[in-house]
């Protein structure tokens, strides 16, 4: 019979046989992959590079991954000079070595990475949100790091704002933005003699925080002039230890010694507080009350008991502080930012009980107060 002869010559397909066949193929593949890795067949040298096709595939995959994952959020105003200045100062310290800047070409060492870090003149092809995602999360297998302070999105936006502003910038414009126009007073004789002057470290701080009679370059950066030294030393320690999240400040403080921290804090503590910008303006009795007494029904204590000149030098003084900085800090706490520093444990819950409108008004209130003198208690 024809059908009987045919069945004798062909392999009959059954579920079992398909499974066995597939299983064998998978095992063979795994063994092959294992051998491929074990025998060192693949050349991991950065000097060799990828095949053209592999390179295209990797790039294709990367671009689609970024596009798919970029968050659907509205960016802040990226033309805001305060954002751009803060981003520039961080770019100078954190990004320029690999990506180059109008002042410096890409380092030949960085350029020998695989893939080589791109010149960021070509960031136009990314949307704001995609650029934000890239800067915040970094890229696997490329050497592009993630943002060190993962919950500080407003810092990431500063970097994005600068990336948008950088193309077409000339060298002078860039250095003015990134380094600020700060002249730090010459070292004292003793400092020169001992070689322990704070000037070098201060120069790094001054790029953002200003120095001498000059305030911060950006409203997003706190005024340190005349703040208590104890508080600043503790803040520096918290940043350096990662207890206070900030991609910018963690990077700026990680190399500081305890001695340098004390010197820096002492330098800024000794500066004359800056005059607040703008007139005291109209007084708002509701905010004055909140600042002075708090609101017991909502478990909000008053601000001034910890933050005026009579408080312990462990706490920052808020009079004359930048309104945008204060608002940003309180808003970040309110949104759930939780450092593990001792001050975060105190302020984060309080900030969480304020409304956004109250935060904004409190920040305005303190920004208009003239800063003054020293703590009564040491």
């Amino acid at each position: 019979m024809p059908s009987a002869r045919k069945s004798a010559l062909t392999i009959r397909l059954s579920g079992r046989r398909i499974l066995i066949g597939l299983g064998s193929l998978v095992s063979l593949g795994l063994v092959g992959a294992g051998m491929f890795a074990w025998l060192g067949i693949y050349n991991v040298a950065a000097s060799v590079g990828h095949f053209y096709v592999v390179d295209r595939i990797l790039r294709f995959g990367m671009e689609n991954s970024v596009k798919a994952r970029a968050p659907d959020i509205v960016p802040p105003d990226l033309t805001d000079p305060n954002l751009i200045r803060l981003g520039a100062a961080h770019y100078y310290a954190g990004c320029a070595y690999c990506h180059g800047s109008p002042d410096t070409p890409i380092s030949p060492i960085a350029h020998s990475m695989l893939p080589p870090p791109p010149d960021l003149g070509g960031v136009e092809r990314w949307k704001d949100q995609e650029l934000f995602w890239l800067v915040r999360n970094g890229l696997k297998y490329t050497g592009m790091p993630a943002w060190p302070g993962p919950s500080r999105d407003e810092e990431v936006w500063a970097a994005v704002a600068f990336l948008r502003a950088m193309p077409g910038m000339n060298r002078a414009q860039y250095t003015r933005l990134a380094l600020g126009d700060v002249e730090i007073a010459a070292q004292s004789g003793e400092e020169i003699a001992t070689g322990e002057g704070p000037s070098d470290a201060v120069q790094a701080c001054a790029r953002c925080h200003g120095g001498g009679a000059k305030g911060p370059e950006s409203d997003l950066v706190p005024v340190l002039h005349g703040q208590p030294a104890d508080m600043m030393v503790q803040a520096l320690r918290d940043y350096a230890a990662g207890r206070r999240p900030s991609g910018i400040m963690q990077a700026a403080t990680s190399g500081l010694t305890e001695r340098e921290m004390v010197q820096l804090a002492t330098y800024y503590a000794g500066l004359t507080p800056l005059r607040p910008e703008g007139a005291p303006g109209e007084t708002d009795s509701r905010v004055e009350r909140l600042v002075a007494e708090g609101d017991a029904a909502r478990n909000i204590p008053g601000c001034v008991q910890c933050h005026d000149n009579r408080a312990l030098p462990l706490y920052p003084r808020l009079a004359g502080q930048s309104a945008r900085y204060l608002e940003g800090r309180l808003t970040a706490w309110r949104a759930g930012l939780r450092g593990t520093s001792a001050t975060d444990a105190i302020m984060a819950p309080i900030a969480g009980r304020l409304t956004p409108e109250e935060i904004s008004r409190i920040a305005q209130h303190f920004a208009r107060q003239p800063a003054a003198g020293e703590s009564a208690v040491r």
Binding site: Q234, E293, G294, A296, A297, N299, I300, P301, G302, C303, V304, Q305, C306, R310, A311, L312, L314, Y315, A342, T343, A345, I346, P349, S375, A376, V377
Partner: protein, 318 residues
Amino acid sequence: MRSAAALPFCLALGGCSTVQSALSPAGEQAAQIAVLTWILLGVLGGVLLIVLGALWLAIRGSDNARRLLSADWAVSIGGIAFPAVVLTALLAGGLWLMRPATTDAALTIEVEGRQWWWRVGYVLDDGTRIEAANEIRIPVGQEVDFVLTSSDVIHSFWVPSLGGKLDMIPGRTNRLRLKAERPGIYRGQCAEYCGGPHALMAFEVVALPEADFAAWRQAAGQPVSTVRESGFDVFAAAGCGSCHAIAGTSANGRVGPDLSRVGERRMMAAATMPTSEENIARFIADGQRHKPGNLMPEFDVLTDEQTKTIASYLARLK
């Protein structure tokens, strides 16, 4: 029936404690509740025996007994008339025992439940208030009216040795009258789950002989601290006064408990640990370990010396 079976167990538990036990009443209102409890227990115990007897007859009884049990009149009497009479009598008895007071109380104390402590205010005859927290002093043998409010969620005020419990409901004022018959310390506990450290929200009622109470009230009206008291400067500079008030000083916060006479309270942190300089220092630096979830942040920023100075100052406030 299930609650009846659990009762012997509850009785055994109640026997362990006299500071917080509805079964060892130390006041008129608690005694009424105890009487009511025993009546309920006796009557319901009798009913339980009758029901069990009927059950036994229905299963094991003679045909005659079973015929009687299933007769219409047996159902009407046993199932309708008997429960109606017994329950009505119990209700009437309960209402009569717990009838509202008609006389004026000798003293009014306002107690506000907060997460997770008690704000206490003694209303004096001249209309002024003595502020306190987490410990309530009352005179023995005098009727005291408690005016109960809440500023956040529902709490419940319950001093089992002195009387029944009453909820503290946001936006509503409840009144509870209590009287202690003999001097002593009676523990109260928040009896309505109010979140987080609800179980660590307790207080003590200290019943003092009338003369002692009068002397204390006289003294409590006067501040014990001034701004010049040693240690107050650190207390103030650490910002403590933005949440806590101390009579006679610039500290006037109302977020946390009043500390004017905190050193004289037997217990602290809403009656969760004995008051001592060491415990106050622990609570300042490490409060979340001792009372997890409480609203006072840990002041790790302070140096040990600063913490100790503040604790020593507070412990002296008596």
